[in-house]
């Protein structure tokens, strides 16, 4: 199902774990070191690189763009490394998380409390994701290289709802089957 970021945020209760979507809109890349810095900025009440309210964080450290390209390979990284920082991001207003793999119980609780959603992207297919990025801008922490924050305009990003706003978790569904 094709939908925009706004539609997803405004109707977040309608999407359940296991549902496949193609998402379009503006998303922000942030992984390990960017999370560490954003968390420190929140703690010291300093200006953040982007408005966290109703935003979407994509756990991704892209390859550099080739000469005639918008971006290089840009698939997801393992989300659980960001678990430590995620409740703070969600309290700050982030609504959508995109990454790969399961999350810990604190993150799942925080997703429920904040009415957020966690979407899964397939790992190791970053060339496919690069085809769906229409614009990429570096917006913060350039010194971090691939770990800098980029604003990406994406079209029809192929994703699956991993954890919905009720805390239903696709990884638990999987366990029940075996």
């Amino acid at each position: 199902m094709k939908l925009t970021l706004e539609t997803l945020i405004n109707n977040i209760h309608d999407y359940r774990a296991g549902e496949r979507i193609e998402l379009s809109g503006e998303i922000y890349t942030a992984r390990d070191q960017a999370h560490k810095r954003i968390a420190a900025l929140i703690d010291s009440s300093e200006k953040l690189p982007f408005d966290l309210r109703n935003s979407c964080i994509y756990y991704c450290g892209p390859c550099p763009a080739g000469n005639d390209k918008i971006i290089g390979s840009c698939g997801p990284t393992t989300s659980s490394r960001m678990d430590f920082y995620t409740p703070k991001m969600l309290s700050g207003g982030v609504k959508i998380l995109i990454g790969k793999g399961n999350r810990n119980s604190e993150v799942i609780e925080s997703i429920k409390e904040n009415g957020a959603i966690y979407l899964l992207a397939t790992g190791g297919v970053g060339a496919l994701f690069a085809q769906k990025v229409k614009k990429a801008e570096l917006i913060a922490f350039e010194d971090l290289g691939p770990e800098a924050v980029y604003r990406l305009s994406v079209e029809d990003f192929p994703l699956t709802v991993g954890i919905d706003c009720f805390g239903n978790n696709l990884f638990d569904e999987r366990k029940k089957c075996f």
Partner: protein
């Protein structure tokens, strides 16, 4: 003595960085294709995405995965080869620096594990040299992603643990962290040697062609046995369930001390990027 110019090694390594990162090896693509069921499930769709991604990457000259990895090199240097100019280590590192910059590959290495400042060159590479007969240099590159490397494990077992102990250790490692390592996986296992060398054995095991048999009949059976048990764990593609958790299990062994039974498991994601050249 045959002379090989370091500049030739550097330019070959430079090209190899692109080749390894843009092209999924045929044996890997064929193995994934053989598992597609066309049943429209999430798991099956992941296998199709892997195949589609390989086509896009090769055509568009774009990396298969954004994690273009730590550059690992397994080098066999003939005793009748003389390298002129730079030594082999700096030649490979220069090739990595040039290749990762020229072909827009991600620089994923930090200077210090605690401070974490990026080297911005993807150097240094991990280089393992072996000295052999002949007048050639054989270089195998393995671009190894961090996510699957993080799922790897090492354990010093004792002789009484035997094969069953090794098997339980491997199964536990895959069960604990395999889902985060981008399955379907290739599971490299090292048994024997010592603490330092058993990890290397596990990594070296990942270089085997999918579908190839272990030269030892006993270990060939053990590989099949473990593959069967791993695929019964229910992890499935990207950890979303199913029978396709691993594509292969490869074991490398080495003699060891009478008191020891070292075992290591090096997990490889489905994007098993490797290539060998001979100079």
């Amino acid at each position: 003595m045959r002379n090989v110019k370091s500049e030739d090694i550097i330019s070959e390594i430079e090209k190899m960085c692109a080749d390894v990162n843009y092209n999924l090896p045929c044996d890997v693509a064929e193995c994934v294709a053989s598992l597609v069921k066309n049943d429209k499930s999430i798991q099956d769709n992941i296998l199709l995405e892997i195949l589609q991604n390989a086509q896009v990457a090769a055509k568009e000259h774009i990396a298969l995965c954004q994690d273009t990895g730590t550059a690992n090199f397994f080098v066999k240097i003939g005793k009748n080869v003389n390298i002129t100019g730079d030594d082999i280590t700096s030649s490979i590192n220069k090739g990595v620096e040039r290749g990762y910059r020229k072909y827009f590959l991600r620089k994923s290495i930090v200077f210090d594990p605690i401070d974490r400042k990026n080297t911005q060159t993807n150097m240094p590479a991990n280089i393992y040299c072996d000295f052999v007969e002949g007048d050639k240099i054989e270089i195998t590159m393995l671009a190894k992603g961090g996510g699957s490397e993080n799922a790897s494990a090492l354990k010093m077992l004792v002789p009484s643990d035997g094969w069953n102990g090794v098997k339980q250790f491997v199964l536990e490692a895959v069960k604990q962290k395999g889902a985060n390592a981008c399955p379907p996986l290739i599971v490299g296992i090292g048994i024997g040697g010592d603490f330092a060398s058993v990890g290397f054995l596990a990594k070296k095991a990942l270089l085997r062609q999918l579908g190839s048999a272990n030269i030892s009949e006993d270990y060939n059976c053990r590989e099949k046995e473990l593959l069967g048990e791993i695929n019964k764990l229910g992890i499935g593609p990207m950890g979303l369930g199913g029978k396709v958790t691993a594509l292969a299990v490869f074991i490398e062994t080495k003699p060891c001390h009478i008191a020891s039974l070292p075992a290591a498991v090096n997990i490889q994601c489905h994007s098993c990027r490797r290539k060998t050249i001979i100079l």
